[in-house]
């Protein structure tokens, strides 16, 4: 019993270098979070192109004004910035929303069903003035557009 306890303490210590330890330090807590297959690498990437590569397997995007981003020019409250992304590009599989000036730019990733319209609205946090970038994956390619939003009060509550 005693050796068991010592083993456990030892193992716990050595695991600190491993993924479980990392998950705990990253604040992601329980193993159940891993089950959801959450694209951690994409959401924790500090740069937009890294986030895209991790999320879509490719980082190159083609600028397209066929993607419409509806967001306020000036956001009174960076904690709640309403964003609507629509596009008439055919065959949209996924839409990603990024806030270029956030610590971790990738905010949300939407995978659309076959009968779902490329018309998604949500509200995001913006840490400071920057661009809302919408990336659309359609026909195996990535298209992107951006819209600048001025933020008067930061999005993470200080």
């Amino acid at each position: 019993m005693n050796t068991d306890m010592k083993r456990r303490v030892f193992l716990k210590g050595s695991l600190a270098a491993g993924t479980v330890g990392m998950a705990v330090t990253a604040g992601l807590l329980t193993p159940q979070a891993v089950l959801a297959a959450w694209p951690e690498k994409a959401f924790q990437a500090k740069k937009a192109d890294e986030a895209l590569s991790a999320a879509f397997g490719m980082g190159q995007t083609e600028a397209s004004d066929k993607i419409k981003i509806k967001a306020p020019d000036i956001a009174e409250n960076g904690a709640v910035v309403p964003v609507t992304v629509t596009t008439d590009i055919p065959g949209v599989e996924s839409i990603a929303i990024m806030a270029s000036a956030n610590n971790s730019p990738l905010v949300a990733l939407f995978n659309l069903g076959k009968s779902t319209k490329a018309d998604i609205s949500t509200r995001i946090k913006m840490g400071k003035t920057g661009d809302v970038v919408a990336v659309v994956k359609a026909g195996g390619k990535l298209y992107a557009n951006r819209k600048g939003v001025k933020v008067t009060i930061g999005g993470c509550g200080g």
């Binding site: 990253a26 604040g27 992601l28 807590l29 329980t30 159940q32 979070a33 959801a36 959450w38 694209p39 994409a42 959401f43 904690a79 709640v80 910035v81 309403p82 609507t84 806030a99 956030n102 610590n103 971790s104 990738l106 905010v107 949300a108 990733l109 939407f110 995978n111 659309l112 069903g113 009968s115 779902t116 319209k117 018309d119 998604i120 609205s121 949500t122 509200r123 995001i124 946090k125 999005g155 993470c156 509550g157 200080g158």
Partner: protein
């Protein structure tokens, strides 16, 4: 049963169903500090959202703490009819989850 954290409005017009939902959730990024203790408030946010129409998945989403508190989500799909069920489910990084079904009006 505990009160649901999800509110859903689903309406169909001209063959397009618009779904609007509001989810009650703190969506903590893990970067905020508790003003009194100075300690970091741990990350607690929805990581996955799933929307179904009848049994078909119409939308799935992965979110980070960058989505606002009490997240709002709206989307549209074709092929829904009045009375069809639309189900919204979410899971967060702590393993909590909730689900709600509403009928298209």
């Amino acid at each position: 049963m505990a009160k649901s954290s999800i509110k859903i409005r689903a309406k169909v017009k001209d063959g397009i169903t618009t779904v609007k939902c509001l989810i009650n959730h703190p969506m903590e990024t893990g970067l905020r500090k508790n003003k009194k203790t100075g300690k970091l408030i741990p990350a607690h946010f929805i990581t996955e959202v799933m929307a179904k129409h009848k049994d078909a998945e119409v939308l799935s989403a992965n979110w980070s703490g960058g989505v606002s508190k009490n997240p709002y989500l709206a989307f549209k799909f074709s092929g829904g009819e009045k009375g069809d069920p639309v189900t919204i489910s979410w899971t967060d990084n702590k393993g909590n989850s909730d689900t709600k079904t509403a009928k298209i009006k």
